[in-house]
């Protein structure tokens, strides 16, 4: 966690590039926030203020956008982040089971980080857009679908193994 936030020199260049694509600075809000999250892993209040200053908008406007979109997170996450879809299709097909399994296997509730800082997970109440895979989750942005208790356990094992094998 950092008390202050600033784009890296490389990201600053990318930000300038983003600005050029839009007629107004305000319009560059979403890509700027994506860039922020990519660099920091989450969007801190300091980063919100930084973006507000860059785009010349009130900081409250940045918070409105960050809190509206579920793909932005305001808290630091684990090294690997799991997002469980809880929207209608997934819920009907058993997202509750996925949630229970993750809670048991990782030992933390939704929104928490494991003690070793490896994993964090959260329930997303809005549709993640992959109903054909229901129930599904996102692991570091990648879709894993047609989940059961066993598949979730297996997935976590595979992830742990890939880490020890240095992949």
């Amino acid at each position: 966690m950092s008390a202050s936030f600033e784009f890296t020199p490389e990201n600053k260049k990318r930000f300038e590039e983003i600005l050029r694509r839009y007629p107004t600075k305000r319009a560059a809000m979403l890509p700027s926030l994506h860039l922020t999250q990519e660099q920091e892993g989450y969007i801190s209040p300091e980063a919100e203020q930084y973006i507000a200053d860059l785009l010349e908008v009130p900081v409250v406007d940045v918070r409105e956008v960050v809190s509206f979109y579920t793909m932005f997170t305001r808290n630091p996450l684990g090294k690997h982040h799991i997002r469980v879809c809880e929207s209608l299709s997934c819920w009907v097909r058993g997202s509750d089971e996925v949630k229970e399994t993750l809670e048991k296997e990782l030992g933390v509730e939704s929104g928490g980080i494991t003690e070793d800082g490896e994993y964090s997970w959260e329930v997303i109440p809005d549709c993640l857009g992959a109903c054909e895979l229901a129930p599904m989750l996102q692991l570091d942005g990648y879709f894993e679908g047609n989940l059961t208790r066993e598949k979730v356990v297996e997935l976590l094992k595979k992830q742990a193994a890939s880490k020890t094998s240095g992949k």
Partner: protein
């Protein structure tokens, strides 16, 4: 200029007028939550849906511009059913805690539900719980569950106060209006969000649970907080005894729309600056006998003033009596003072302004640095010279009797001069160090307790109306002056109406509207 038909009535409006405004012009009030004439359009609440011929879908009246030959219905079956549905949505997460809600009685959710409600609830689900009743600033309490997310308050902080404290966070049924963390709604105009909130989400900390709104009576008045002269309504305990509110009579102040001065807004200082009306008032005349001030009847107090004035007058002539009137007085009181002290008694030492007065905070919106409501009136009525010269003469003993209206001249340099004055008469509303030092104290009435006019800094003569009886034995100043004059052998009218009519040639009631604006060029607009 488009001419359109609304509910069978033809109306011609200026180009660019919206349907909701056109309807208002012919007295049709379309229900609305998010629309406010002083804010940008949001189109969030969908309450103002109307049916327009040739449009396949219902349109929001706040956003749709009036066009020639438009045929609008605000009461068709489709419209009424849409309103009912919108209310059902808005109430789906509303807590319905009306019995403990301060907005009750002036709540648009209640009001519109009376006309368009479904009455039989279909809602079986659990309501979303949000944060209830927490302060978001020095004057405002927020209840997120009651909020219908119209965003009037958010737009106010964006567009009017330009302070950006509030925002809509999260999404869908979890959306809330909240402060940006670390911020507080403490801008100088924060109280206005209470007025524009159509529901009980934003309520006034001072007024909360003090009085149900249906017990309030309201009177048109003018804010005395600065020289702007914002139009206000004084809401006071009308049908209820004042003891139920701890002796408070004035319960709150609301801005009153005036397009030329304050529009829909007032500053917090004005809104919450009514405390002096009911606290620390001078309630009876007082006389200094040996060393203490003691309560007295009016007659002996006025007789003593008259005797002392007469004695000074016969000894030193027109130089023997000094008068310091105040820009807190109404035009009518200033006129009465002018007639008695300047025209009849020909006093040479008459002043009005206090040169030591600290200016207040000013900005480019409503607040003026001059904290007096009638400085322009003082100037227009020919008062010049400041209190310093008069006080100096009183200190040197040249002036035998000094009559001070309203001013507190007991601090610093003024206080040192005042100490040496031989005989001081104080005419004022509230206790201060000057009153405590005076030899005779005469209790005046506040603007809530009398009729009159103030001239704002632009020269608009505006009326304020009496809401309350003068507290205790206090009297309005024009009556005090008239009675003082009678004891000195002069005859002066006592009523503000008479004085105003003699001044402007029209009665107070004929002054446009009540307390409304007056064209500065012509000074009076009948």
């Amino acid at each position: 200029m488009p001419t359109l038909t609304i509910d069978g009535q033809e109306v011609t409006v200026d180009a660019g007028t919206t349907v909701i405004q056109a309807a208002e012009q012919i007295g049709i009030n379309i229900p609305r939550y998010c629309y406010h004439p002083g804010l940008s359009l949001a189109g969030r609440c969908r309450m103002c849906l109307v049916e327009i011929e040739t449009f396949p879908n219902l349109q929001i009246a706040c956003y749709t511009r009036a066009q020639d030959e438009m045929v609008v219905s605000t009461t068709s079956e489709r419209v009424l059913s849409a309103r009912q549905s919108m209310l059902e949505f808005l109430l789906s997460n509303h807590p319905l805690d009306c019995p403990v809600c301060d907005q009750s009685g002036e709540c648009d959710l209640q009001n519109f539900y009376m006309d368009h409600g479904q009455y039989q609830s279909r809602f079986l689900e659990n309501k979303v719980k949000k944060k209830k009743a927490f302060p978001i600033g020095p004057h405002v309490i927020l209840d997120q569950e009651r909020c219908i997310l119209c965003t009037r308050c958010v737009r106010f902080t964006e567009e009017v106060s330009k302070s950006n404290e509030l925002g809509v966070f999260n999404r869908g049924s979890r959306s809330v209006i909240d402060l940006y963390p670390t911020k507080s709604l403490d801008n100088p105009y924060s109280g206005n969000v209470i007025d524009i909130c159509p529901v009980g989400a934003l309520t006034e900390r001072e007024f909360r649970f003090k009085c149900r709104v249906w017990y309030l009576a309201s009177q048109e008045s003018i804010c005395t907080g600065c020289s702007r002269g914002c139009n206000i309504s004084l809401d006071y305990n009308g049908s209820r005894r004042a003891y139920k509110a701890g002796g408070r009579r004035v319960m709150r102040i609301k801005p009153r729309y005036n397009p030329d001065i304050n529009k829909w807004w007032i500053c917090d200082e004005g809104r919450f600056g009514y405390g002096f009306i009911d606290t620390d008032r001078i309630e009876t005349p007082m006389q200094r006998t040996t060393s203490d001030l003691e309560p007295s009847d009016w007659d002996p107090a006025l007789a003593r003033v008259a005797e002392t004035v007469k004695a000074a007058y016969s000894e030193k002539g027109a130089n023997g009596v000094g008068v310091i009137v105040s820009p807190q007085l109404s035009n009518e009181e200033l006129l009465a003072c002018r007639e008695l002290f300047v025209e009849k008694m020909k006093l040479t030492n008459v002043a009005a302004l206090n040169p030591w007065e600290e200016p207040g905070e000013a900005d480019d919106f409503l607040r003026n640095a001059d904290r007096n409501p009638n400085t322009k009136g003082v100037e227009d009525l020919g008062y010049s010279g400041d209190a310093k010269a008069v006080l100096e003469k009183a200190a040197e003993g040249e002036i035998e009797v000094l009559i001070i209206f309203r001013h507190n001249l007991a601090d610093g340099e003024a206080g040192k001069l005042l100490e040496k004055a031989k005989f001081v008469v104080y005419v004022g509303t509230n206790w201060n160090a000057t009153a405590e030092r005076a030899h005779v104290v005469l209790p005046g009435a506040t603007h809530a307790e009398k009729d009159g006019t103030f001239t704002n800094f632009e020269g608009r003569v505006q009326r304020f109306k009496q809401a309350l009886l003068p507290i205790g034995d206090s009297r309005n100043d024009s009556q005090i002056i008239s009675e003082m004059a009678a004891k000195l052998g002069y005859s002066l009218p006592a009523s503000a109406d008479e004085i105003f009519e003699a001044w402007k040639g029209i009665s107070l009631d004929e002054l446009s509207g009540s307390g409304s604006s007056v064209d500065p060029d012509t000074a009076v607009q009948a």
